[in-house]
Amino acid sequence: MLGELHSQLAPALVITRRELRDQFRDWRIIFPVVALTMFFPALMNFTARQAVNFVSNYGAPLVAERLIPFLLMVVGFFPISVSLVIALESFVGEKERHSIEPLLSSPLSDGQLYLGKLLAAVVSPLLASYLGITVYLVGVYREMGWIPTPVLITQILLLTTIQALVMVSAAVVVSAQTTSVRAANLLASFIIIPMAILIQGEAIVMFWGRYAVLWWVILALAVIAWLLVRAGVAHFSREELLGRELDSLNLRWGWQVFWREFIGGAPTLPVWIRQVGGLLSQKMRLPMLLVALSLAAGILVGASQAKVFALPVELISINNTDSGVLQGPEIMQFYSVAGVSTVWLHNIRAIILATLLGLFSFGVLGIIVLMLPLILVGYFLATAATAGLSPLVFFTAFVLPHGILEIPAIILAGAAILRLGATLATPAQGQTIGEALLHALADWCKVLVGLVIPLLLLAALLEVYLTPRVVIALLGG
């Protein structure tokens, strides 16, 4: 097995070695790497010393305590930013220089080519980053006697490595899918902005002193890096790389591809509805199961938080609910067509938000959005139990009357979102990434128009006209 791994990996490393040699011959890469490795840690040492001296005058050593590890993380991050530049031009740069075709005509597999380029982009900035961290640590030890704990240094090294991998794997995806370095640089904003937000989040965590949270960040980034690499390899196409000359937005073509898939050649509405049914049984079974399990997990998560964030018992006394509780919503004209449409449109908005988030996160963030109401349900079920109320009765009163339609609608929408997001990480047989995405989008629309939206409308009707009455019937005095 090791032999086979070596035979698969060795050709990729041939690419990596050549690219590394090329990088070390290019002063435009060497200069910033050296500068960021040597100069920047020294500057951070100076900053740390000044900050420690300053805050110690005001009796706030905590700030210094938190600042030194934070600067360690920053020192590690700066050199890996160079990896973005290298990775962005990995494929498209070679295309522009016309040196890609001999490589594409070679017997290297797609995976070997991809891995070789990926490693080449990540190795030198990472080495620079480790060196920078070392320079910084030596500096702070010599000047302030500060030594990080083994756990902290492990976290920082892992975080730096995984951040470099995320940036590089995303940049290589961009590089393999664009037609010019200019276009790749423009698209790099989609990497730089999330990374900047991530660093800000990490800064908050580190100043807050909740270092355990960094493990979750590392885990999440590792999953994202894996998904990005998978997406990159899945959609790597020699033909696209070589054949596509212009990044043109062809709306007409896009609409035609989408519409063809959406209609599916169905001559009548009943045939189309049968097709939607077929779609569920053929392509949506596994996503539906995954979403159902996620929602169940959401209820459990919510229930587990009831003890952590407990409500005062007097606030949750809902026995003897009488028809008076209906009056509040009535004043706001909730029990009307307007109320139905409010509930319905709110749910549709939530599904669209989940879809947008799912598109950029391989479906994951979309599912988390859909889990949120179920987390609340779990929380209130557990809270009700704490208050001596049967969770089953509570569920039957508040959730079941409309949830019997709404929850299946959420599962269906979630499955379509998951499939849409997963399209990016799934090999598209004989299709471009755009075609695959348009087909998945058409399937998403089919499920939404054919099932989810009508089910949500019925659920909204039930939620407005039935659920409050069931609450009174079951929980009324």
């Binding site: 050709p11 041939v14 690419i15 050549r18 040699r21 090329d22 011959r25 290019d26 220089r97 016309h98 040196s99 890609i100 075709e101 001999p102 490589l103 594409l104 005509s105 070679s106 017997p107 290297l108 597999s109 020699r238 033909e239 070589l242 054949g243 073509w253 004989g430």
Partner: protein, 313 residues
């Protein structure tokens, strides 16, 4: 070695290659001729398994270009239209890199690199960066890369473009040598003299379709009609009436020469000579009027355009 059946490649709504049938056996050279954008490069890219055919099939060195893409790529040496060299690398390192990519061991890489650099007169320059090479030197290095792993199939796109006459001769000699070593070679070129010199078969491609193909002599006969011959005389004819046998049609005449066309020169030419000698004319020579591939090419293009006009009409 190379067989294509109804090979086609569609980009959006445009067929770049449309139903191409080719066959190149071992030891043969096929010259693929055609104007820019005719589909030559697309055909080569399909034969190197870089582009996936939209229809039809192609076998290269016995491997299917779709199902056995990696084997095809390992069996093919390709000289791309653009050299595709790494400017910062020295030539020796460059060939060594591609040797590794093709899975060659170190000893073989060394031997092949040295041999090819010597053959192409680049040995003395092996440590110079490729970026400092002239266009011709780059072309030779790119060709050396294509030959490095000693492939049974060679696909050469414009092998002598940008070369000085001496270097071009060197490359042409190299290609001739490679043919004798039982390889199948396809050359895409605009240089018709080169194609005529090197190729056993010619295929002319226009708008993705092969409009004429065959050995050069056969193409000349089919597209330009029967061969033309010229008889030279030692003295001016001064309007002397010439009598030619049946089957030899006079096409042109000058002061001391006359041209005729015949479909069966083996039978007619001895008769022509006998007739002329019988008329007491001082015949000093009889030879076939050379016909260039350029005439064939232009004739094929013109017929194809006419055909297209008729179809449209």
């Amino acid at each position: 070695m190379i067989v294509t059946r109804d090979l086609g490649k569609q980009f959006d709504n445009f067929w770049a290659v449309d139903g191409v049938n080719l066959r190149v056996d071992a030891g043969e050279v096929l010259a693929l001729l055609g104007p820019n954008g005719a589909g030559k490069t697309t055909t080569v890219r399909m034969l190197t398994s870089v582009l996936r055919p939209t229809r039809g099939e192609a076998l290269v060195a016995g491997f299917d270009v779709v199902r056995e893409a990696q084997k095809v790529r390992a069996a093919v040496g390709v000289l791309t239209e653009q050299h595709g060299l790494y400017g910062r690398m020295p030539a020796g390192d460059y060939l060594d890199f591609f040797g590794q990519v093709y899975g060659m061991d170190a000893a073989r890489r060394r031997a092949r690199t040295q041999r090819l650099l010597e053959d192409f007169g680049l040995q003395a320059e092996r440590k110079r960066r490729i970026g400092e090479y002239s266009k011709g030197m780059r072309q030779k290095l790119a060709l050396a890369r294509a030959l490095l792993h000693d492939p049974p199939v060679l696909l050469l796109d414009e092998p002598t473009s940008a070369m000085d006459p001496e270097s071009a001769r060197l490359v042409r000699d190299a290609i001739r040598e490679l043919r004798s070593a039982s390889r199948a070679i396809i050359i895409c070129t605009h240089n018709l003299a080169e194609a005529e010199e090197l190729a056993d078969h010619i295929a002319i491609i226009r708008q993705g379709k092969i409009i004429a193909s065959g050995p050069p002599t056969e193409l000349k006969r089919s597209l330009l009609g029967p061969s033309e011959y010229e008889v030279a005389f030692g003295r001016p004819l001064n309007g002397f009436p010439l009598f030619f046998p049946h089957g030899a049609d006079i096409t042109d005449r000058g002061e001391q020469w006359v041209r005729f066309r015949t479909a069966s020169p083996d039978l007619t030419n001895p008769l022509v000579l006998r007739y002329l000698l019988a008329q007491d004319l001082a015949v000093t020579g009889l030879h076939e009027v050379p016909r260039s591939l350029e005439q064939v090419y232009l004739s094929a293009m013109s017929s194809s355009r006419e055909q297209e006009g008729n179809d449209a009409g």
